[in-house]
């Protein structure tokens, strides 16, 4: 077989090299399919949810007792959300959040894919909230300001 040195042949080589060398993480397609299904479910009920984008994600430290702390920052034009997740060795996750600008919000945590269970907490007046025991895995947060003049907003699915 003589190699194809045409433009298309060369780009084929490039595709093959990268497909082998930097393959998608295992399960990526399935996670993305679950994420779009979850998004369709929201879009079907409430088109007015503003989607926050992930700005940064940092692993702060690996704790001495087998815990890891992640800090994630999400933002949109109007809102910033800082989330800190601390995994416990037993499997549950503590999740603290801060909304800026500060204001009281109701926060829903839903696993992705949807397991039929969800968790809800109220923030204090400064926009600080906490979930003490969420299951590890992919989760989305939906935040509804208690000031009904403000739009609800949601994060993409992220792993805790």
């Amino acid at each position: 077989m003589t190699r194809d040195y045409s433009r298309d042949g060369l780009l084929q080589v490039v595709r093959e090299v990268w497909t082998e060398r930097d393959p998608m993480p295992a399960g990526l397609v399935e996670r993305m399919q679950a994420a779009v299904e979850a998004e369709l479910a929201i879009a079907g009920t409430d088109f007015d949810v503003e989607l926050l984008m992930l700005v940064s994600r940092e692993e702060m430290l690996a704790g001495a007792r087998g815990t890891a702390t992640y800090t994630l920052r999400f933002s949109s034009d109007d809102i910033d959300l800082l989330v800190r997740a601390v995994g416990a060795p037993e499997g549950g996750t503590r999740l603290d959040g801060w909304v800026s600008p500060a204001g009281p919000v109701t926060v829903h945590a839903t696993p992705v894919p949807d397991t039929g269970r969800s968790w809800e907490v109220e923030s204090d007046d400064t926009g600080r909230f906490e979930f003490t025991d969420l299951p590890a895995g992919m989760v989305r947060l939906h935040l509804t300001p208690r000031d009904t003049g403000l739009k609800p907003f949601a994060t993409p699915a992220f792993e805790i």
């Binding site: 077989m1 003589t2 190699r3 040195y5 433009r7 298309d8 060369l10 780009l11 084929q12 080589v13 490039v14 595709r15 093959e16 090299v17 990268w18 497909t19 082998e20 060398r21 930097d22 998608m24 993480p25 990526l28 397609v29 996670r31 993305m32 399919q33 994420a35 779009v36 998004e39 369709l40 879009a43 989607l51 984008m53 992930l54 700005v55 940064s56 994600r57 940092e58 993409p156 699915a157 992220f158 792993e159």
Partner: protein, 211 residues
């Protein structure tokens, strides 16, 4: 200099990788079916399956670490669900997705600029996967040679060719902006990079070439 007449040492068929054109056609069909009300594998799920690998390679060419790259791919899919009605031409779906992914990858890479590890540190050099016992030696040799050839390209060539290889006729204005290259230089740079790759491949196919 005779190079083309010598058969390659690789006579083993490689697992075919679909061309960007084929992927784009399948994506358009899934998108059209989804907008017509089809659910599941024929519709949106199929579109996600077909295009997620493309988005992965496009996003990773912006040197984002795995987790951020995955988030950018997800952001792209969520944006599609939200803005589906804004896409009037199903044929344009592939380009819409890769452009959205590139814009988001570029934005995130700017924000994270200081913290991003260089790509070569991030990607461990993996041994080629074994396909079958008899072809293993030949293929391993072939694979690692191809990797080395791509590896030895200048950084901007590697990134540009990765984008061009996985996208179907990307918009050069946008590619230029996100790779911090002048727009007029993309076409010539791409040609130079392809020429470098061609020469390097000819040399491994026929080590006598160019002597």
């Amino acid at each position: 200099m005779q190079v083309m007449g010598t058969p390659s040492r690789d006579s083993t068929p490689r697992a075919p990788t679909q061309s960007a054109g084929q992927v784009w056609a399948e994506a358009s069909a899934c998108f059209r079916a989804w907008t017509d009300g089809e659910t599941g594998e024929l519709g949106l799920s199929g579109l996600v399956r077909v295009m997620t690998p493309v988005l992965w390679h496009v996003v990773r060419s912006y040197r984002l670490p795995h987790e951020l790259a995955e988030d950018v791919v997800q952001t792209t899919w969520l944006a599609l669900v939200r803005r589906r009605d804004a896409i009037e031409d199903p044929v344009a779906i592939g380009g819409w997705l890769t452009t959205t992914a590139r814009r988001e990858a570029w934005r995130v890479s700017k924000l994270k600029n200081q913290a991003i590890p260089v790509e070569d540190e991030e990607i461990a050099f993996r041994l080629p996967r074994q396909r079958s016992a008899e072809s293993h030696a030949v293929e391993a040799d072939e694979s690692s040679q191809l990797w080395r050839v791509v590896d030895e390209l200048p950084d901007r060539c590697r990134r540009l060719l990765r984008i061009v290889a996985f996208e179907n006729r990307p918009d050069y204005t946008h590619v230029a902006q996100t790779l911090d290259m002048p727009v007029g230089s993309i076409g010539p740079t791409r040609s130079r990079c392809l020429a470098k790759l061609r020469i390097a491949l000819m040399q491994i196919d026929d080590p006598e070439a160019g002597r």
